[in-house]
Symmetry: C2
Subunit: 181 residues, 2 copies
Amino acid sequence: MALAHTILATLGNESYSGYDLWKKFSQTSKYYWQASQQQIYRELGKLEKEGAIASEIIPQEGRPDKKLYKITDKGIEILKTWSLEPAEPMAIREELLVKVIAAKLVPKSVILQEIKRHQQIHSQQLAEYKQIEQEKFADTSQLTFEQKCIYATLRCGIGYESYRIAWCEDTIALLSEASDN
Amino acid sequence: MALAHTILATLGNESYSGYDLWKKFSQTSKYYWQASQQQIYRELGKLEKEGAIASEIIPQEGRPDKKLYKITDKGIEILKTWSLEPAEPMAIREELLVKVIAAKLVPKSVILQEIKRHQQIHSQQLAEYKQIEQEKFADTSQLTFEQKCIYATLRCGIGYESYRIAWCEDTIALLSEASDN
DNA sequence: AGCTACATGTAACGAGTTACATGATTAT
DNA sequence: ATAATCATGTAACTCGTTACATGTAGCT
């Protein structure tokens, strides 16, 4: 049920269209919650029906109209109540590891290549996150509590990508060592 | 679609009942794929219909009959074909981080307590994994390629829990620093 | 002429969760 | 007594993915 709450938390005090939210989710919030455009539109519809958010239609010239959503008092209450409940640790479903488990079925080079590819993906992601860190969170002591919270999620993304890269390196070394296949 | 493939990879050369598989998933394989008992039973039904696995009923005294599943040649082909395809990096959906984003709504102590609780969960998990490591993978040089692959997934679990613990510690330090709430 | 960005949605399907249902054995 | 373990499954629901549908503006 957390997508609804993630949207409420993301809305904060600002107004967003579904499209804006989707961009925010796929750009800056992807290290803590991923969602597709369609999921967001559907969830916005549900949240509006519940009265947790309210929309305002902004006519635009030459573009489709925009529907701007704002959190309501009821939405804030829902988010607050949810925030007080304990959070479940994320379920891990890592396809790459399943392929490692099944690795004996394919040439060793295939799995090693795939791990290298993942290492590159994570390295690129890490570089992006580190740049954001430098640009926006260079001086920790100057941050407000709210900014520190946002920074904490970015640190989580940085930690995650670093751990993935380290695992890829370790595993390439481990599996490359001479041994039959 | 990876649950089906995870089951096929887990079956390997052995026979498992749905119940056995569920235990394996909730005990030793949880650091790469999580699935509930119901999901496993449903997926086994589908896989049998497809002809990827075959079952044999083992009558038992005083207990319900057991249905033992084995991978078929067709199942091995399906798994092999899938193994050659690239793997998508896991989608991250971390509830705790959403609560961090919404932290300004609740007393600071609530979120700090929750992070501490997660730190404990991950510490316990890490200890379990490290014990398995000592018991089964003490001497890396003695492992076959297949065992190295299994060890690689355990190392992934160890890396993951370590990264989570480190993040919890960092974040508690970051958010504890004097600043209004 | 074709691609990307802007902007919203419906429909169908597949994956994951929760609740319900049954019933014996073993350990506390 | 009662809880946990063994063992299988159905049904309903929610969440996530993929495909389809529409249409303008601006860039190359």
